[in-house]
């Protein structure tokens, strides 16, 4: 299965808008939303059947039994995450700060600490005919996004083994959820934005993606809002030897499509026409020999 991952560095450049159009244009049978702390793809890919759900267990959290705690302070001294506080009777754990390392349990001289498993999110799998869509939602206050991203991808792969192509909608930034989504990806399409912030963030995500040795391509969304910066991005790509797969203009129809739960490829609009071009160029990079029909 070849995996096309959509990333951006900066948030809000149009990852999900592009991903949903690509899903439509490729008639993708496998796709996933790895932006687990702000997932949106499900709002636009219509599914008539409810998904199957699974609890996702993140790292366990430490708990201190106040009846056993002798207030010696060893746990607090050794906790690197400042997750332990104290009152006059006992020490206690801040579950938001606790990373589940188990150091407090190890150093406690009276065995007052235990690690309790905790639900950190909700894994969802939509299956409809030949189509598989894997997504998740992180529980508020939980921290292990990278692990949840890996679970989302694993769930997609297991459920759509025979499929030749999958589209993965990524998350903003360059940290653990992005790194988790990069592992196993064959190609990354970066949706850039023609602003100084967008350019700076694009350069940083390219640096990160290069560590993983994947094919990298760039397209620009809302390209006409700052043609000068769009040209700077094109020049940058040329200089760096990164394929540029096209410019998508700012299009008020795009917002309307999204708010109706449709992709820009579903309606006749300027951004929809442009995204088809980006799609064709991207697919030629991922499948230089041409893609076998999935029928």
């Amino acid at each position: 299965m070849k995996q096309l991952l959509i990333l951006s560095g900066k948030g809000g450049t149009g990852k999900t808008t592009v991903a949903s159009a690509f899903i439509r244009l490729s008639e993708a049978r496998a796709y996933a939303d790895c932006d687990v702390d702000a997932p949106n793809l499900h709002l636009i890919t219509k599914h008539s059947k409810a998904p199957s759900r699974k609890d996702y267990y993140g790292m366990p959290k430490a708990e201190i039994d106040p009846g056993i705690c002798i207030n010696c302070g060893k746990c607090r001294e050794n906790c690197r995450f400042d997750a332990i506080s104290v009152n006059e009777r006992s020490h206690f754990v801040d579950p938001f700060g606790c990373e589940g390392c188990g150091v407090c349990e190890f150093v406690c001289p009276v065995n007052a600490v235990s690690l309790k498993s905790s639900v950190a999110g909700d894994l969802m799998l939509f299956k409809e005919g030949p189509v598989t869509f894997s997504t998740a939602r992180l529980k508020m206050g939980s921290g292990t996004t990278g692990m949840l991203v890996s679970e989302v991808k694993k769930q997609m792969k297991e459920s759509a083994e025979e499929t030749d192509f999958a589209i993965v909608d990524g998350s903003p930034g360059i940290g653990c959820p992005v790194i988790a989504s990069l592992s196993g990806a064959d190609m990354v399409l970066i949706v850039a934005e023609p602003s100084l912030s967008g350019i700076s963030d694009m350069e940083r995500i390219i640096k990160t993606a290069r560590i993983f040795g994947v094919i990298i391509a760039v397209c620009v969304n809302k390209s006409d809002t700052n043609p000068e910066n769009t040209n700077r991005i094109k020049d940058f790509c040329k200089l760096e030897g990164i394929p540029y797969t096209g410019s998508i203009p700012f299009d008020p129809m795009a917002v309307k499509a999204v708010n109706k739960g449709m992709s820009i490829a579903d309606i006749d609009c300027s951004s929809g026409t442009a995204v088809k071009e980006v799609f064709n160029k991207t697919m030629r990079l991922l499948f230089p020999e041409g893609r076998h029909s999935q029928k």
């Binding site: 951006s8 560095g9 900066k10 948030g11 809000g12 999900t16 932006d35 687990v36 702390d37 702000a38 949106n40 709002l43 790292m59 366990p60 050794n78 690197r80 938001f96 990373e99 589940g100 390392c101 188990g102 150091v103 190890f106 150093v107 939602r137 992180l138 508020m140 206050g141 939980s142 921290g143 996004t145 990278g146 998350s171 903003p172 930034g173 360059i174 940290g175 653990c176 790194i179 934005e193 023609p194 602003s195 100084l196 912030s197 967008g198 963030d201 940083r204 995500i205 640096k207 990160t208 560590i211 809002t225 700052n226 910066n229 008020p252 917002v255 309307k256 999204v258 708010n259 739960g261």
Partner: protein
């Protein structure tokens, strides 16, 4: 009504966050800090920091941020594997009579060094990013930048907020948060007195606002919403706020001029009186909200 403005501004920490990216966190933070003139701006989006592109400060202090990573003395290690069994993050493995350490997944908890009966494990510093401090027309700018390839920016965010707490002045502090609602956001808003949620009038914006709203409620932070890029059409985010009685402090219309200034790294409030007035009035609304919200919360 008593005037809370002065009281509110002192030492006040305002976090600007949003579930969805690109809704205008940096736009709001940078312009509010500029409208306040005498203020502190902290860029906690250490994965993709952008505030410095607007303020263009002369950096006065730059320091490296590092975390502790274990290292093994192979002469002392007798292969008991106690560290491997202890590590919850699978950052250690004993392969071919050698202890391997995987820096990238290590959480720097220090547990392996504690459990090693031979004292074969010690810790070394691993650089994860930098912290920079500078000034820009009365605004003190603190910015963290994570190195590429590093998984977590939390140690940098922690250091930023510690630095910020040690500043010996009572200027208002504007915290520009990373997008999403995960651990890096929680770390950024932990000490905030007030949270401003930047949202967008789309179903994506609505859905992500819903998530970040539950996060600020979980942390019991007083908050309100600014809807950015508003156009004349049905607004699912506005509906969501009304359904849940969340205060909308401001609606900023979709504006090509503002967008262009912003995409060229210009601070609108410094370029144009129209925008200075917009952000000054938003700032006043925030200052008026804070004591009010604080009273409401203490009555609960």
């Amino acid at each position: 009504m008593p005037d809370f403005t002065d009281m509110a501004a002192k030492n006040l920490k305002i976090a600007i966050l949003s579930g969805k990216g690109g809704t205008g966190k940096t736009l709001l933070s940078v312009n509010l800090a500029s409208a306040a003139a005498d203020s502190v701006y902290v860029d906690c989006d250490v994965e993709e920091p952008n505030g410095h592109l607007f303020f263009k400060p002369q950096w006065n202090i730059e320091k490296e941020i590092s975390v502790k990573i274990p290292q093994v003395d192979p002469n002392k290690c007798d292969g008991c594997k106690k560290c491997v069994e202890f590590c919850k993050f699978n950052a250690l493995a004993y392969i071919n009579k050698n202890l391997k350490i995987f820096d990238d997944v290590c959480h720097s908890c220090g547990g392996c060094s504690l459990v090693c009966p031979q004292g074969a494990l010690t810790e070394r510093d691993k650089a994860v990013g930098t912290l920079s401090v500078g000034d820009s027309e009365g605004v003190r700018v603190l910015s963290g930048m994570m190195k590429t390839g590093i998984a977590s920016g939390i140690p940098i965010i922690k250091e930023l907020l510690t630095q910020c707490g040690s500043l010996e002045d009572d200027r208002p502090i504007f915290i520009d948060c990373p997008p999403g609602s995960a651990c890096i956001v929680m770390e950024s808003i932990k000490d905030a007195d007030y949270c401003l949620l930047a949202a967008e009038p789309t179903i994506f914006g609505r859905h992500n606002l819903e998530m970040v709203w539950s996060l600020v409620r979980l942390f019991e932070k007083p908050h309100s919403v600014v809807i950015n890029k508003c156009v004349d059409q049905s607004d699912p985010t506005d509906e969501f706020c009304k359904e849940n009685r969340i205060k909308i402090l401001e609606k900023i219309p979709f504006d090509v001029e503002l967008g262009t200034l912003n995409s060229n790294g210009k601070i609108a409030a410094r370029e144009n009186t129209k925008y200075r007035d917009l952000f000054s009035s938003l700032l006043e609304k925030i200052y008026r909200e804070v004591p009010h919200e604080a009273t409401v919360n203490s009555e609960r």
